[in-house]
Symmetry: C2
């Protein structure tokens, strides 16, 4: 194993960063389960034809080839690594429709892969946490209200900068562009979706040159994209643009309900934002993008929406609504900038010092007693001088060192941070709860 | 999404099976952390030259190609999916040696991939749980005793059939073959490793034809492979074969210590077994294979050993000892045969019944109160007749249904298994601890 180097786009954490990732994933899972979402794990690969259904992403897929099949036909397996958790989930629902209970609420926390050039906040291998609710044939709109509130609860329970979920509705955008007389409303949605990259002037150019929009139509589209409010006042602002369409009315109603409920249940979490479009074709109702305070450069850290036609086998359709949280996109910058760390690098709470080599078995028994009460314990690797053994604990952040007594005096435990040392009853001693395990530490703020 | 079919070799669980997998993974992680092992997650891919270092496995690797690079040179990235967690871990240790504290104890629970033909207990994508202890330059032998005891503790805490770890020592085998005058002791180890596949006669043929062993040498090799004891008596049995060699003595001593300690600390867990060889070249000391009662056909469900030369950058070497638990190999058969299931399919403990559509917001507030005390709760999807809402809970195994009161009487909660119903104080009510979350259920025994 000669050459070893980090691979661009494939982030890996040192143990302290991994503690952060572990605790965040556990907290997300806990919150999702409190809302009744069941855990699902899918295989990492999907047939290429499934992966390529959403045209836009085809360039990003890693295709699998079996090494041993090199001679025959390139060895392609016809499979690729999934680039999100939505496509695999839609396939899972169809494959197991007869065995699942609908509406089906699931969460899924797994790595995804994209073969694209890595850039700030974009990786080739990254962890996502998704929640979705799918139903058979019809999906009530109240789930479009619930999903961002669940995600808000989950994200706000994490030690990360504040987040705000920007919400729009496809019916609103599409109805508006229709009512405006644009011939390709979906094309307009895709053009407006580029506003952060190319600016209003760039969008105007796309609308007029590629979609043949007239000047006043372009102006109305840009005016719509500027509307963003924390309450239902966006409805009047949109109406003031003078466009009418039944689909627009439906979209305004639905979005108003989402925003009103959010304002009541989770003040400051949701914002109606007509600029949010989501590039993907399959969204049909509410859409979400999420921005983290001070990390606008990362783009949306958590996106999703309602889809009606993603999972369908011809006979049945399974409309759904869901959001993906970009775990790596959120955590990799926070950890690498030193904003988040761990209280220690190891799970170990107590190091049992080793007085001499022959005492190892006795020390193992002391450790076993502590472990039986849930206290992570290891025995020192060698019978060095106690000073060296204490250093061993210090370097890892292990808070307690136990010095075994050979007599009947009882063992002594030292808190090596304060230096306090006392004789303890090994059958009942417990550390303070906060020292029991490595926890996330907010630093450098 | 038209064609959907399960893929052979890529097992996926339905929600109940996933509960089993989740609980097992959590229990393993908990046990490993009690012994001070830190969690590490590595990226899923490694450079091909790293993956191919262990010649034997080259045929099994999935190579990654970028779809968009099709035109140029086939698009191969030079990377493949890891086929175990040992190779990535060795690379991780070398890459981060300056930032890690040694001895370094880590556990790692991730999927691995092998492009091989799927068969009973062998998959193309499968989860493994590894623990390893690596040190810099030298590794004390007491870790070769500790590792199988940690794994034994972890496996015995799971609701799976009893396991037995069979232990041998490479020094013992190699010393024996050397002392016997065989010119290629490593070749003999590989031949004996095939004994379960080709039988003693097949091994005899390999030894004589490929390694030029004389009849009495073949006989001695087969006699050694037959020795298996639960205590240290294997030492005398090996000595009785009349072979002597300093390396053999060392191996006998080391194995005797492992077995003696195991007999004391974990009776019935370890067995000295001279037939255990492990095919891989890199083992240098104690080696382990594990068999699950009644599932011999799966082969070893948990294997490993000591290695001295796996991670080395020329200047420093990082000897280690570790074991991999085959999570999928153990769980997929137990779940698919119906031996392990879950107490329910969903995390939800309480379903809040919905009296009418307008009450949804009130019901959401009741649910939020229960969630704030850690009770997983969802609100019924629609204001159907209560009988239908109870059915909804029954089909998912949700134990409690809450019927909201509009007045000041307090809400009623029904345990739908017993039919018992009572008025409760929503600000203090808690379900029995055993109902709090979905748990593993042993069934069909």
């Amino acid at each position: 194993m000669s050459r070893v180097a980090p691979l661009s786009g494939f982030p890996e954490f040192l143990p302290a960063g991994r503690v952060v990732e572990q605790r965040v994933i556990a907290k997300l899972a806990e919150t999702f389960e409190l809302y009744g979402f069941a855990s699902v794990n899918t295989r990492s690969i999907e047939p290429m034809d499934q992966l390529l259904r959403k045209g836009e992403t085809s360039k990003e897929v890693y295709v699998l080839r079996r090494l041993q099949a090199e001679a025959e036909s390139g060895g392609d397996t016809g499979f690729g690594l999934h680039f999100d958790l939505t496509v695999p989930f839609a396939r899972y629902v169809l494959e197991n429709a007869g065995k699942l209970q609908f509406p089906f609420r699931r969460y899924q926390i797994q790595p995804c892969w994209r073969g694209e050039r890595p850039q700030d906040g974009r990786f080739r291998e990254f962890w996502q946490a998704d929640i979705d609710i799918v139903d058979r044939d019809e999906l009530p709109t109240h789930y479009e209200v619930e999903i961002p509130l669940v995600v808000g609860d989950a994200l706000r329970s994490l030690p990360i900068p504040d987040v705000r979920i920007h919400v729009n509705n496809r019916k609103l955008s599409q109805g508006f562009y229709q009512g405006l007389g644009l011939s390709d409303p979906m094309g307009a949605i895709r053009a407006v979706d580029k506003i952060d990259k190319v600016g209003p002037a760039g969008v105007a150019k796309l609308l007029s040159e590629e979609l043949g929009a007239a000047d006043d139509q372009v102006k109305a589209c840009l005016a719509l994209a500027e509307i963003a409010t924390d309450d239902e006042s966006f409805v009047d602002a949109v109406r003031a643009l003078g466009v009418s369409d039944p689909l627009l009315d439906e979209g305004l109603d639905e979005l108003a309900t989402v925003i009103a409920t959010g304002a009541e249940d989770a003040p400051g979490l949701l914002r109606a934002d007509m600029r949010i479009a989501r590039g993907l074709d399959y969204y049909t109702g509410t859409v979400y993008e999420t921005f983290m305070d001070g990390y606008g450069r990362l783009g949306s850290v958590c996106s999703g929406g309602r889809y009606d036609n993603l999972a369908s086998d011809g006979k049945n359709s399974f409309p759904g609504v869901g959001i993906s949280i970009g775990i790596s996109r959120i955590l990799v910058p926070l950890v690498s900038e030193g904003k988040l760390g761990a209280t220690r690098d190891v799970p170990t709470c107590v190091l049992v010092a080793l007085p001499d080599t022959d005492s190892r078995r006795d020390c193992d028994r002391i450790a076993a007693k502590l472990r039986s009460r849930g206290v992570a314990t290891e025995v020192a690797p060698a019978a060095q001088k106690y000073g060296k053994q204490i250093k061993f604990a210090e370097r890892r952040g292990i808070p307690f060192v136990l010095f075994p007594s050979s007599g009947t005096d009882g063992h002594e435990i030292r808190d090596i941070r304060s230096g306090e040392q006392s004789t303890v009853d090994i059958d009942s001693w417990l550390p303070p709860t906060t020292d029991l395990r490595a926890e996330i530490q907010r630093t450098g703020e």
